[in-house]
Amino acid sequence: MLETIWFTLWGILWAVYFMLDGFDLGLGTLMPALAKSDLDRRLIYRAMGPHWDGNEVWLITAGGVTFAAFPTTYAVMFSSLYSALMLILFALIFRGISFAFRDALPSPAWKALWDWCLTIGSFLPALLFGVAFANIFQGIPIDAQGIYQGTLFTLLNPHGLAGGVLFVLLFTLHGSLWLAVKSAGDLHQRAARLAAGLWPALLIVAVLFLLATWRATHLYDNYLHHPVLFLIPLIAVAALIATRVFIHRAAWWPAWFASSLTIVATTLFGVVGLFPNLLPSSLNPAYSLTVYNSASTPLTLKIMLGVALTFVPVVIAYQVWAHYLFKDKIQEEDLAHEEAY
């Protein structure tokens, strides 16, 4: 029971991370397509400035919870995905540094350097998280000792790459909607047009991915046993359609929330299908890591649950407050304050 609770929380943590950092990573990826001037770029940085770091902590927490609740999974997953994770790590370092460094010097070459770091540092994690999770859903070649029998290129199979493309599209749509919310004028128009343009691409890739999932994974087994679970992918589809409706009505906050729900439901669709596995082995189902054979002791799980139930609501409360504090559209005057970034 405790293991199941922690599996659920584990899935929710990843889903919330993708929902929150998703808009930063997506918007960073799109910056070259959206910004026409240095002012546009500064507005885009500013739209993410107060949020990216707080969003990234959800990743650290998701990693920490994997370590704490399912240490064997953490050990095997992180060492198996070594090269992919290192790439994500370096990308996130460059992405984060660009916020602090970009406007520290007036030189255009310096700014251009960090602009590229932001874009590549946003695109790579978006792509690689998709690749990693599609591979986890599908299973990776781990043996009885939990030793990975593949390379980085093993992960770049068609299903994995499809997952990568799906994540990039989910995040870029999410990011363009965020900018549509946060900006005005031309920049807002471009973000709105791009969001409308990305939507059909996302729809096609999402449908293809769902079909490929049927062929490449066992995710649907749980759904066939408990058809009520089909509500989760249905919510994902409904939220995706609602996103389009809100884009059409130029209702940007609702569109962004619908896109958030799409990301959360899509992630949970995969996670629910995975249960009770955390990391299936493609070599032999007996080698798979599950919530039962890789969990921490009930004592640790109980203590962690106490900590989570006490502190996570507090975290959510002050993060919501912080988002509310910075809810306004970014205006040119906001940049004049020179508030450190």
């Binding site: 370590f67 060492s79 030793i147 002791t297 002050y318």
Partner: protein
């Protein structure tokens, strides 16, 4: 080289680089919070400018500290998966708690502080930097509790091939954890104090904004003086704790080879590890080691020769790092005490100011040396007495670790240079000009 050696090097590079930034974050956040609180209470505009001036440097430092911290969390899984599996039940939960109670708080409220100058009342704005300071120091507490458990495992039971949690309270209340915590944060506060004093000295020497920088110098001086003194006293008891629970580390710290009662201390010695002895020893103080380590001149201090060769840490490195740290610790007391007597005539003491400017790197050296004593002195164990470092490494390809190590060295070098350059630039540039704030919500009227 094998994956073990490369992984150890990579962990060393990642930790040392991370730890170049973290101590300043721990101490400077508190100093900035004090400055802004003085502003809120007195309405003295200089203190608002001080908070903003040091805040700008703080943000560069903080950002790099945060981003390089993720590396450490990832590395336990990527490079030390056997360790992670073995200790996850205890160590993993401490990391997860750190993220939940500290990282969210510090990241969210730093953003509130940075972007909130004109959106929050001065009181709430000052509160947000206090929360950043509290959260940074809380995160130090949790990670050091985790480290202390690796140094001195308690509250566990070995079952099913791993260490399982048996007594959570024992893990978080063990005295060694709190010793490490107080020792590390005092070091961090000394570092931040010297950082602020050194840069203030630079401007005082150039007669720029002297009233402004005299204020920050004196604030930092008080802070550094208190913690330099505390560090000496606490460090003494800390070493006593090491003597009890990690005798091999103590022996290496003192390059002490023969078990004896009334063990002496040598003011100067050169260790010769290959022959299990010291090449040169002089300035011998009888019974001093026994007295310092166990508070009794006749206490027995176990020598390195009585530990199996494969359970001894590297002696020369541990010894040198310890001596260096202790010498610097005493120097910090001398400098801050001298500063205390000169605090009202700083501008008339250019020699002292120059010394303080060039003293900025010294606490950095002392803190890194301290980490060498802690971590190298614990070898060959990753979890003291339970698991050796050699048994902890991931089954990953040498090429993978080689490539990532090379990438870490390259990326961190570039980042280090860029960060140093920017912090130097912001520091030398001085504060923004003194003008009353014109935006609503900020400034004196709400103070």
């Amino acid at each position: 080289m094998d994956a073990l050696m490369l992984s150890r090097l990579q962990f060393a590079v990642a930790t040392f680089f991370h730890f170049l930034f973290v101590p300043l974050t721990l101490g400077l956040s508190i100093l900035i919070a004090i400055m802004e609180t003085i502003y809120v209470r007195t309405g003295n505009e200089d203190y608002r400018r001080l908070a903003r001036f040091w805040g700008r440097i703080f943000i560069v430092n903080f950002t790099i500290g945060v981003l390089t911290g993720i590396t450490l969390e990832f590395q336990f899984g990527t490079n030390w998966s056997r360790y992670s599996r073995y200790v996850g039940d205890i160590f993993g939960s401490l990391l997860a708690i750190e993220a939940t109670v500290a990282f969210f708080l510090e990241s969210t409220f730093l953003a509130v502080w940075v972007f909130g100058w004109n959106r929050l009342s001065p009181r709430l704005h000052a509160l947000s930097i206090w929360l950043v300071a509290l959260a940074s120091n809380l995160s130090a507490l949790w990670i050091l509790i985790a480290n202390a458990w690796m140094q001195h495992p308690v509250g566990y039971v070995l079952r099913g091939g791993r260490a399982e949690l048996q007594d959570f309270l024992a893990v978080i209340t063990q005295p060694f954890a709190w010793q490490i915590f107080f020792h590390t944060i005092s070091g961090a506060y000394i570092l931040a104090g010297f950082f602020v004093m050194g840069l203030s000295a630079y401007h005082l020497l150039r007669k720029q904004e002297t009233a402004f920088f005299a204020k920050s110098f004196r604030l930092a001086l008080t802070f550094a003086l208190i913690f330099s003194l505390a560090e000496i006293v606490q460090g003494h008891f800390h070493a006593g704790e090491v003597a009890k629970i990690q005798p091999a580390k103590l022996a290496a710290m003192e390059s002490h080879w023969h078990t004896q009662t009334g063990a002496p201390m040598h003011l100067f010695l050169i260790p010769d590890e290959s022959r299990d002895r010291n090449l040169v020893e002089f300035g011998t103080i009888p019974d001093a080691l026994s007295l310092l380590a166990f508070h009794s001149p006749q206490a027995t201090v176990k020598g390195l020769k009585d530990f199996p060769k494969d359970e001894r840490p590297p002696v020369a490195l541990t010894f040198l790092a310890f001596r260096l740290m202790v010498a610097l610790g005493f120097l910090f007391v001398v400098l801050t005490v001298v500063g205390w007597f000169k605090r009202h005539r700083l501008e008339a003491s250019p020699g002292f100011l120059k010394v303080m400017l060039y003293a900025i790197p010294l606490p950095y050296v002392a803190l890194q040396a301290g980490w060498i004593v802690t971590e190298v002195g614990r070898q060959p164990w990753i979890v003291y007495g339970l698991m050796k470092t050699a048994d902890a490494v991931s089954p990953v390809a040498v090429s993978q670790v080689g490539v990532s190590l090379a990438a870490f060295i390259a990326v961190y070098s570039l980042l280090g240079v860029a960060a140093f350059y920017l912090m130097r630039k912001f520091a030398l540039q001085g504060p923004e000009p003194a003008v009353a704030p014109t935006h609503s919500g900020g400034g004196l009227k709400n103070a």
